[in-house]
């Protein structure tokens, strides 16, 4: 390509990116830095995927798990897993990637005094309870958690340099699929020498290696020349440029100052403007994220009864909302599972309860009232005001109000909690008074990930305190089933059981709208909605 020196600007045929092989993609400031076991949010997760490889990875088209650093992952009973690494993998400091790196990393993450927020992922590994202790009266209480008995999980065992064995407390069909999640990364020996320094200057083993991090501004990574993967990076450098505002990023994308964003703002989605703005630079797809609203079952007044909850579900015109508010950027859901994952089926488990039917909705409402439930006059739908939920929440509330008609005796209103922090605080302290926005971004593409964390009694993200013994039993069956297909079938049965209480209303699954500048080509987006860093290439001028 020609060596144009101007960044940005749309003039000229020479490709300014060609000169130094650098591309600019939209990013945001990670909260916790680069330690994989401590990452639990998108900003850090995305960039971490560029620099760390896991045992497996997910195909960017089909989301199917494929081996990455692992040469094989085998288990006879889904309980004891033997994992073999590919030979010749290297850290960016030159040291080899070993089985010990994995075992040390997992132990470190799980050990509760290390306070890694991904520690619970190892809850199924034998000996987890020895390394992680709970605070008896919660973080607000005066008592402190006792010191764990050990700092090593008994279920992890290094066999040789490239092999280690994982023993679970119970069979887990999805264990293999989970291993692509960031928390299951290895950590180099360098990390243990100085964990603090690693946070902002990691030694990595992925396709790209870390260069620098200018806080709140950008993170720069460059292609790892020693990368052992089959597919090699096609660009020399990626600048992960942080934007505070989606519209700003989009404006930069349109004027070719930015090469990739996976967030097209509503302003551009409206009227399909983005397609005319971007032309063939627009990318559409799906991602494993669903939007739901959940009832606070712990609250008598707002929890309502099953008929009331079903009435609401049937009063939501998902189709019009996805068309008008999201410009078809979302797809109506008729189940609780993302269409992208193993175990998804059509028609969904929700069936007619997720179909818009004002007449039926009214009927159910009447039934609910007849059964003795009087909804409050004003019924809020809560969301966090610091990101773009207002539009759809308002539309949802309007839809329900109109379906129920003016004399339903209850009015639905969208209400914002200013910040996500506050929002989560109210949710986790179980003080929600009204429906609240919930959503699930899959950690790995499997039906299990949409059920266990959300609906099991006492599960971490069971925000509405939903509890159904039968469902728990069914899920347990599915978890421990050794045959993957059988397991999936059981999960599907479990999903169908959700229609009984309708504690959580599925709304829609996320489409993917991304765009590129005119300087790059070949861009693929993973099912997690982030750039596949290996796919991006600079156009020949």
């Amino acid at each position: 390509g020609g060596g144009g020196s101007s960044t940005g600007g749309s003039g000229g045929g020479s490709n300014p990116r060609a000169a130094d092989g650098t591309v600019f993609i939209r990013g945001c400031e990670p909260q916790t830095g680069f330690v994989p076991g401590n990452i639990n949010e998108v900003c850090g997760g995305t960039i971490n995927q560029f620099v760390f490889d896991q045992l497996i990875k997910y195909n960017s088209d089909t989301a199917a798990p494929e081996l990455s650093q692992a040469e094989s992952i085998e288990s006879p009973d889904n309980k004891v897993w033997t994992i073999k690494l590919k030979p010749g993998l290297k850290w960016s400091d030159g040291s080899p990637v070993t089985a010990k790196n994995y075992v040390d990393a997992w132990n470190y993450t799980a050990y509760s005094p290390n306070a890694q927020n991904g520690g619970w992922w190892f809850g199924g590994v034998e000996g987890y309870s020895d390394v992680a202790t709970e605070d008896p009266d919660g973080p607000d209480g005066p008592k402190e958690a006792p010191k764990p008995k050990s700092d090593k999980m008994s279920g992890l065992e290094v066999i040789d340099d490239l092999t280690f064995k994982v023993t679970l407390t119970a069979p887990e069909a999805v264990f293999r699929t989970k291993l692509g999640y960031t928390t299951f990364s290895a950590l180099p020996d360098a990390f243990f020498k100085d964990p603090k320094a690693f946070v902002s200057n990691p030694v990595t083993n992925g396709a790209f290696k870390f260069v620098k991090w200018d806080h709140n501004s950008q993170i720069v990574v460059e292609a790892n020349p020693d990368y052992a993967g089959t597919e090699k990076p096609k660009v020399k450098k990626i600048v992960y440029k942080m934007y505070k505002d989606d519209d700003a990023a989009y404006a930069d994308l349109v004027s070719n100052n930015l090469d990739f964003t996976e967030l097209i703002p509503p302003s551009a989605l409206a009227g399909d403007k983005w397609k005319s703005d971007l032309g063939d630079r627009a990318i559409e797809g799906q991602q494993g994220v669903i939007q739901t609203v959940t009832f606070p079952l712990y609250d008598k007044e707002f929890g309502g009864n099953a008929d009331f909850r079903k009435a609401i579900s049937m009063a939501i015109d998902r189709k019009t909302i996805t068309e008008k508010i999201f410009n078809k950027g979302r797809t109506p859901l008729d189940g609780w599972i993302s269409p992208l994952v193993d175990g998804y089926k059509t028609p969904g488990a929700c069936g007619e309860l997720c179909a818009y039917d004002p007449a039926k909705a009214k009927e159910y409402l009447a039934k609910a009232k007849a059964a003795g439930y009087t909804p409050p006059k004003e019924y809020p739908i809560w969301y966090n005001g610091d990101s773009a939920h207002k539009e759809w929440v308002d539309a949802t509330a309007n839809s329900i109000n109109q379906a129920f008609g003016p004399d339903a005796g209850v009015t639905f209103v969208g209400k914002a909690v200013p910040t996500f922090a506050e929002f989560r605080d109210i949710i986790t302290s179980h003080k929600m008074k009204g429906l609240f926005r919930t959503g699930w971004q899959m950690d790995y593409p499997h039906i299990e990930n949409f059920l266990n964390p959300l609906f099991k009694t006492g599960a971490g993200s069971n925000d509405g305190l939903f509890s159904d013994k039968e469902l728990d039993a069914k899920l347990h069956e599915a978890d421990t089933a050794t045959d993957p297909a059988d397991s999936i079938a059981k999960y599907q049965e479990a999903e169908a059981m959700l229609t009984k209480e309708m504690n959580c209303i599925p709304l829609w699954s996320f489409g993917l709208q991304a765009g590129t500048s005119k300087w790059v080509t070949g861009v693929k987006v993973t099912p997690f909605g982030v750039l596949d860093p290996l796919s991006i290439a600079i156009k020949e001028a």
């Binding site: 409206a270 508010i325 005001g385 309007n398 109109q402 209400k415 109210i426």
Partner: protein, 301 residues
């Protein structure tokens, strides 16, 4: 020695500053134009249903962002609600917030400014420094903190509560500027001989402040206050945008603007009409303030 020198003034009933101001205002075109507009806005705020029969809440999502038509003069907004109806109904909140917050600012700032100027010395320093504390706290931070602690969302505050808190926030964070203006105007007036003359007559502080100082320092306060009404209506929109100001179910111009700015490329009408009303309203207040200020100027009599 009794020939009249200027235009004859009847010696009938006693007149006051305010009556005379009114007499002058009566003859000014600009006053009547802005007054008519103000009345229109006030009627709109009080009886929105006179202007439109449509409901501002009723949403037909299918009509989302439809442009103006004979059916809906201002078109439909994102939620498929009638923009005209929402603009009309929005007047109430916007004007109440703008005006009450300004009134609060003027009262709070005026009282502090007058006291600081009148008493002077350490009290002046103290009040001025306190004002600086309030001005120094970043606006948005202050807003979040006050909104968050006075009307926490968990308490599920109602319409009136939210409005009250927004008004309080604007006034509490805005008064020091007015206090400064009032202070310097009063200090200027304070050194005039007529204040000394009143003291020589035995007038108490109350009388001096209300009869002598305030009427003579009103002009700059008025100018600032009328512009402030406008900037508060705008500020309300900004708070809404940040998610900490007014919110549904309240209907206001600010919310309408905040909600639809991003859609300006596909449906400018949803934002432009409320924005136009907002600008017109601001203009009305400023023109009115200007007219009153002119009329209060005794030299023009």
């Amino acid at each position: 020695m009794s020939e009249p020198t200027a235009a004859p003034a009847s010696a009938g009933k006693p007149r006051s500053l305010w009556q005379d101001t009114w007499d002058i205002l009566k003859h000014r075109k600009i006053f009547w134009i802005s007054f008519a507009l103000l009345i229109m806005f006030l009627v709109m705020a009080a009886f929105p249903s006179l202007f439109t029969s449509k409901s501002p809440e009723y949403a037909t999502l299918a009509k989302s962002m439809e442009p103006p038509s004979s059916d809906a003069w201002f078109g439909y907004d994102l939620q498929g609600r009638d923009v005209f109806a929402r603009t009309i109904y929005g007047a109430r909140t916007s004007i109440i917030v703008g005006v009450l917050a300004t009134v609060g600012t003027v009262l709070l700032g005026g009282v502090v400014g007058v006291i600081a100027a009148y008493r002077g010395r350490w009290l002046d320093s103290l009040l001025s420094r306190i004002g600086e504390i309030f001005l120094g706290v970043p606006y948005v931070l202050g807003a979040i903190i006050i909104l968050g602690s006075v009307a926490p969302v968990q308490s599920n505050p109602g319409k009136t509560m939210i409005m009250t808190v927004v008004i309080v926030v604007l006034a509490v964070l805005g008064w020091p500027v007015l206090a400064r203006i009032a202070r310097s105007a009063v200090i200027q007036a304070k050194h005039q001989d007529y204040v000394q003359a009143a003291r020589a007559l035995g007038a108490g502080p109350f009388r001096i402040v209300f009869k002598h100082l305030l009427p003579n320092s009103l002009a700059p306060i008025l100018v600032y206050a009328t512009i402030t009404v406008g900037s508060y209506i705008g500020a309300e929109a900004t708070l809404s945008l940040l998610g900490i100001g007014l919110r549904t179910p309240v209907i206001s111009w600010g919310i309408a603007i905040a909600d639809h700015t991003r859609y300006i490329r596909t449906g400018a009408h949803a934002m432009l009409f409320p924005a136009a009303f907002l600008s017109l309203c601001v203009l009305t207040f400023v023109m009115l303030g200007e007219a009153v200020r002119d009329a209060l100027d005794p030299k023009l009599r």
